[in-house]
Amino acid sequence: MSRQTPAQRYLATAQDTPEAAARRLLEVYRLAIQAAIDHKPEGIRYCLELLRSNLRPDPNPELALSLLALYQDCESAALAGDFANAAEILESIRGYWLARMRLDQVITEPAFQPPPEST
């Protein structure tokens, strides 16, 4: 099986809607948070590895770097046994993604409808 380029991989996943992709992302965070709650460092590492491998720096390098650093913080906390901190970081990141999704929905609806033009 030939190795896919990043662009091909993105296109393969982007065949479904952006909402579905975002929901899958949220689900991975949820699994990671659950692993932190259950004090399962291997689960946290699995999820973080999955997130790292699916990180694409091309669209937004700064965001990718920030996320990488945060995942590193989270992994360090998990390895040190500070599961509460790891869960908090993951919960925050998940919350931002969730807010971003909802915001995208809200801003597509106009705040105040312009008055109908008189004919």
Binding site: P18, E27, S66, R94, V106
Partner: protein, 527 residues
């Protein structure tokens, strides 16, 4: 409001009370582009503070209008002139205060409620919120129509140290500039700029001259042949729109004020300050006030082949402070010729004597100005007239600007206040709706960590008003996460449209594997 004293009522009804500074010349329009640009906020925090502060101030304005409505109703029931004056004075004060509050609601130095739309930023990725802002001033076009801005000027004459030093060089007695005033209806193109000017008087009895000069000595306007001799008052009108009132006294029989024939003219100095203002008046008449005017309805001189007694040039003149001003209406002017003891009478339509001058010397031929001191003056021409007992009669139509209170209809004003309250309530509803919208957007954006979020309680009125007053640098929207990294990440997440392709690339297969691993308790992972 408590009862006002007589002095307070007088102060409240002074035409110059509550006057506002006027930047432009009378009739001059300001450039619309500068004053009518929309107001834009830079971020969601500014937007929230603006609407919160504006909502608070609108509540104050609504309360102010409700007080004015109560007063207007009180005015409808008032049946004494004093009570009417008191209520009118209070309404003037409250409406001026209302404008001050509206003017104080500023954002980046721009008044918020002057009819310019507001564009409230909701942060990156969201379209700004457009809110219509009414013009809430009580005066001007498209405003609440509760007052009028009457262009006038505050003119005062004082003697400064340099004037006193100059004047002390002449031992002149019995001459003083008593008053200075703005002349309504003067040539607006010549109106003086705000500032100080010098009044230079060259006293030579009946042939004196008065000049207005700039502080650097440049002549602005000069009036010659001003009669500053004798006793009484002399009004000097300048085309620049200033009227000076000279008070004259003659203490000595031999010398009138100063021996200019022996010593040359006395050159006196005074300082005049001129400030353009808009008087704050409450009117309920729809049409603008009629200009002052005086005219003879018909005027037939008494004349023979070689003699003549004629009236001409009726005009409005300043009222002597010791006399009562004439009301608008029709009057009859009579001149009875008795040589040195001629009589001039002014009676109203019912024959009541309104003004008179006895002992007027009309023996010398020539034209003289007669000022009755009640607001009417005219020229009287005598040419070899000797017919004792002759009577010249001329009906006069006299129109004087009535005070705003005389034509004030409290019922009509109460109706206007009710309409204004409706406008303010409507504006407040629009602002509150915008506030809810901003809160909603902010809540969604900060859903991740609610413990560090600025809550509605944090947006108290003090903070909001600080921003409206142009200050305040303590940020309410503090970092939404305890770590700076999370903060950075959040900014990047919301500040771009490329966030999703950066991370949301997980395939369904990968997710299924993760779910299975989780279900198995993460066994055999990373062996």
């Amino acid at each position: 409001m408590e009862r006002l004293t007589t002095r307070q009522i007088e102060d409240f009804n002074n035409p110059m009370a509550f006057a506002r500074d006027r930047v432009t010349r009378i009739g001059q329009q300001t450039i619309g582009l500068i004053t009518n640009r929309p107001i834009r906020t830079n971020d969601i925090e500014q937007s929230f503070r603006l609407v919160t502060g504006a909502s608070e101030r609108l509540e104050t304005l609504e309360n102010n209008l409700n007080t004015m409505l109560q007063l207007a109703r009180e005015g409808q029931r008032a049946n004494t002139p004093r009570k009417l004056q008191e209520v009118y004075g209070k309404l003037r004060s409250l409406s001026a205060g209302f404008d001050q509050v509206v003017d104080a609601i500023k954002f980046n130095g721009q008044t918020v409620f002057k009819g310019n739309d507001l564009f409230l930023s909701l942060g990156p990725g969201a379209r700004p919120l457009q809110v219509e802002a009414s013009k809430l001033l009580t005066y001007g076009d498209k405003s609440l129509n509760l007052s009028t801005a009457d262009p006038t000027a505050d003119v005062r004459v004082t003697y400064r140290t340099d004037d006193l030093i100059l004047n002390s060089g002449y031992s002149i007695v019995g001459l003083d500039i008593d008053d200075a005033a703005f002349i309504r209806g003067s040539n607006i193109a010549l109106e003086l700029e705000d500032g100080d000017y010098k009044i230079a008087v060259s006293y030579m009895g009946k042939d004196s001259s008065v000049e207005i000069r700039s502080l650097t000595g440049t002549l602005i306007e000069r009036r010659d042949n001003v009669d500053l001799s004798g006793e009484g008052r002399e009004w000097v009108d300048f085309d620049v729109g200033v009227r000076l009132t000279f008070a004259k006294e003659q203490f000595l029989q031999s010398i009138d004020k100063y021996d200019f024939e022996e010593l040359g003219p006395a050159r006196l100095s005074a300082t005049m300050s001129y400030r353009r203002v808009d008087a704050h008046l409450l009117r309920t008449l729809e049409e603008p006030p009629k200009p002052d005017s005086a005219s003879f309805l018909f005027n037939t001189p008494l004349q023979t082949a070689d003699s003549k007694l004629a009236l001409s040039n009726p005009r409005i003149s300043p009222v002597n402070p010791t006399r009562q001003a004439l009301d608008s209406g029709s009057y009859v002017l009579e001149v009875e010729y008795f040589g040195k003891n001629s009589v001039i009478r002014l009676s109203d339509g019912l024959g009541r004597l309104k003004a008179f001058q006895f002992g007027v010397d009309l023996t010398e031929s020539g034209t003289r100005r007669i000022d009755l001191g009640v607001g009417l003056s005219f020229d009287l021409e005598v040419d070899n007239f000797t017919n004792m007992g002759a009577k010249l009669v001329a009906p006069v139509e006299f129109q004087r600007d009535r005070t705003a209170l005389e034509d004030f209809d409290f019922r009509k004003y109460a109706k206007r206040i009710t309409d204004a309250i409706g406008v303010v309530i409507e504006q407040r509803e629009r602002i509150d709706k915008a506030k809810e919208r901003i809160e909603e957007i902010n809540q969604l954006r900060n859903l991740a960590s609610t413990q560090a979020l600025p809550s509605s309680l944090a947006f108290n009125s003090t903070n909001a008003l600080t921003l409206l007053n142009g200050g305040g640098d303590n940020s309410l929207f503090r970092p939404a996460s305890p770590t700076a990294r999370l903060n950075n990440m959040a900014n990047q997440l919301f500040g771009t449209t490329t966030a999703l392709p950066t991370q949301a690339n997980i395939t369904p297969q990968s997710l299924n594997q993760a779910r299975m691993a989780s279900a198995s308790g993460w066994l055999n992972t990373f062996s």
